[in-house]
């Protein structure tokens, strides 16, 4: 079973919608106990890094998440703020984050509109099971004012240009994360979610053609 972490302010309903449309069994989770049986975890995120960190702390989810991801190697997908809080620190509200990966979160600057809002090009750097049936470059939907700067180049799975080149997707062991909203990114976004669900042992119905989403 795939669990989508619901901390009320996030966009968990949208992610659940997308998984259900793909006929993938998924549920909303918000307790450490509910995390235990999961074979895959999705942390959607919107809002600020601080609010998200506060919610995860209040729900006492952080030690349980770390046990799942680092102890059991359970596949994990962070989306948007769910990607940013994997870093050590976010410049947004000077917020200490999870620190699962070395690196920082910075604000876009220069002559670009903030937030970045819309479909931008994502260029993948290497093949990975989560990219099955995706091409080298795809459009995905972004809504962000901040972006991650991981310390290690090898965790960068994809990059995008918005005034500067930034890491739009990362992969490291069981950890995956996208800056873009894969749940709102049309066919390519759904393919990526489906790939994650498959590598996380997600169960699905035999009839894949019953739902067609755009």
């Amino acid at each position: 079973m795939i669990g989508v972490i619901d901390y009320k302010a996030g966009n968990a309903p949208s992610v659940l919608n997308a998984l259900r449309a793909l006929n993938i069994k998924a549920e909303l989770v918000s307790t450490p106990e509910a995390l235990r049986p999961l074979t895959g975890i999705i942390l959607p995120g919107v809002g600020s890094a601080r609010a998200t960190m506060d919610s995860l702390r209040e729900l006492r989810l952080i030690p349980a998440l770390e046990e799942k991801v680092f102890g059991e190697k359970t596949p994990f997908l962070g989306i948007c703020i769910g990607m940013q809080i994997l870093m050590e620190y976010s410049a947004e509200g000077e917020t200490p984050c999870l620190g699962w990966l070395k690196g920082r979160v910075e604000r876009f600057d220069g002559a670009v509109r903030i937030p970045q809002m819309g479909w931008n090009e994502v260029a993948f750097r290497r093949r990975d099971p989560i990219l099955a049936n995706l091409k080298e470059k795809e459009y995905f939907y972004f809504v962000n004012s901040y972006y991650v700067r991981p310390a290690a180049e090898e965790v960068v799975l994809a990059t995008t240009n918005y005034g500067r080149e930034f890491c739009s997707m990362l992969a490291w062991g069981p950890l995956y994360a996208t800056q873009f909203h894969t749940e709102k990114s049309g066919a390519a976004g759904l393919q990526l979610l489906k790939n994650f669900a498959l590598l996380a042992g997600g169960e699905r119905d035999a009839d894949e053609t019953s739902h067609c989403l755009f």
């Binding site: 919608n17 449309a21 600020s48 809002m117 091409k135 470059k137 939907y141 989403l213």
Partner: protein, 263 residues
Amino acid sequence: MNVRVIPCLDVKDGRVVKGVNFEGVREVGDPVAFGKHYAQEGADELVFLSIAAAQEDWTRVLSLVKTLTSQISIPLTVGGGLATLGQVEEVFAAGAAKVSISSAAVKNPDLLTQVVKRFGGERLVLAVDAKRPAPAAAGWEVYINGGMTPTGLDLLTWVAQAEQIGVGEILLTSIDADGTQDGYDCEMLRAVSEHVKLPVIASGGAGKLEHFREAVQKGKAAAVLAASLFHFGTYSIREVKEDLAAAGIPVRLYNLNSGQVWL
């Protein structure tokens, strides 16, 4: 960044309608069918504005949003009469990607602050209806209640305040241009786009293909929104995007890997 092309569904009594100059609504169809069609055609986002939501059956609005978001996988912005944090929460729970707040924001700017704090400013669209107070006047005045009530609020002051509060983008409708099909108010668009760093969605007045490029080139709009022109099939999303692309404006239209038109 690719310029977004956004069809707008004005929904009243569960049906898509088209208002001209904010008065006299005319029914055109089923919102879910329209939304799915536009998503398939390559719309970058959809906007769902509930007309007279205060009087309307709120449960029906939420149910429509839920049905629509379960059948498309592009972002849906929901607005029209949203006035409380509770309503915003319900709309997000129904699957909306963003909410659009208009009149309530003017009456109670604290609502914007609350939404930003709770859900993040990037999911909050400030919808602004504005017009010139008089033909020869400088600047524009913000109107509320579907363009009926002047507020005395200066447009540029208001959008700057909203940016400060932390809203994610501005949906700017020209009351003078809306429904005329004579083109967007590019002067007003440009003034706002140059005054804030936020993306600005152009709304009101699209009637011809060239109007879309003008909104981007002259008005500096980050996105273009239209309703009746798409509903009545005057132009398809693809025709608008091809025309923008021909003018050298980046749009999500071509396959990134082959260069072929894929929509």
